[in-house]
């Protein structure tokens, strides 16, 4: 079972994890990304390509399902204006064994960083606005799964 949600509002990670746990299996793995409070960041604005986002996320989840034996995957990604400390993304995987759950969760995040159509804009204390640039380390992490 694959559940994909893109929303402006916050999510309840505990509820999402519990919901996925009902799929059975002995291992759950989850990752939560939140707005980093370093520097002079006030707000992170997340834009996305609505017509493509769910399709791109589902493709990543299907790829993970093909590689690992999973009972379910939940992906929740927020868009809009997010303050420091707010949750951005949740990835949760459920499997019979921990290695599959952990690896699939890590794989999904690595792919999401490079092929899901989201863009972050930083709004700083002094009013400056910067579009975040892609990071080489993210590209390498995503590529490492294919090597």
């Amino acid at each position: 079972m694959i559940s994909i949600t893109v929303q402006e509002s916050d999510f309840d990670s505990g509820l999402e994890i519990k919901r996925l746990a009902t799929r059975g299996g002995g291992a759950m793995s989850s990752f939560i990304g939140q707005v980093r409070g370093d520097g002079k960041l006030v707000v992170l604005e997340l834009e996305h390509y609505p017509a493509m986002t769910e399709k791109a996320l589902r493709k990543i989840a299907v790829q993970a399902s093909n590689q690992w034996n999973l009972h379910g995957i939940t992906i929740v990604h927020r868009v809009g204006r997010l303050k420091v400390g707010e949750q951005i993304v949740l990835v949760c995987t459920c499997s019979d064994h921990r290695q599959a759950a952990i690896e699939a969760c890590s794989y999904i995040m690595d792919q999401l960083k490079t092929v899901a159509p989201f863009w972050k804009k930083e709004i700083l204390q002094n009013g400056t606005e910067n579009w975040v640039e892609e990071r080489q380390s993210d590209l390498e992490a995503a590529k490492s799964w294919r090597d």
Binding site: Y49, K55, L112, P117, K121
Partner: protein, 87 residues
């Protein structure tokens, strides 16, 4: 035969072009994404600036990632945007 193509832009590409989307009559002799960008650059200086370096851009045809050499074919929508930064 020429056909209608919807162009959509995101992030700084959208801001610099000054539009979220537009409809274009894709000329017959334009086959690839790269050729379409060249054609647009000849039409307007805003495109010239934004499309100058294709290595800084990413493309999706009908919601699938493609490279600049991809054939447009009968696609309905071409998205142009910088590398993604979600998560």
């Amino acid at each position: 035969m020429s056909h209608e193509l919807n162009l959509v832009y995101f992030s700084w590409v959208k801001e610099r072009i000054g539009r979220e989307q537009e409809s274009l009559n894709c000329p017959e002799d334009v086959e690839t994404v790269g050729q379409l960008l060249e054609y647009l650059q000849g039409k307007d200086t805003a495109y010239q600036f934004v499309f100058a370096d294709v290595t800084k851009l990413r493309f999706a045809l009908d919601h699938d990632f493609v490279g600049p050499d991809a054939s447009i074919g009968r696609a309905k929508e071409l998205a142009v945007f910088p590398p993604v930064t979600g998560g």
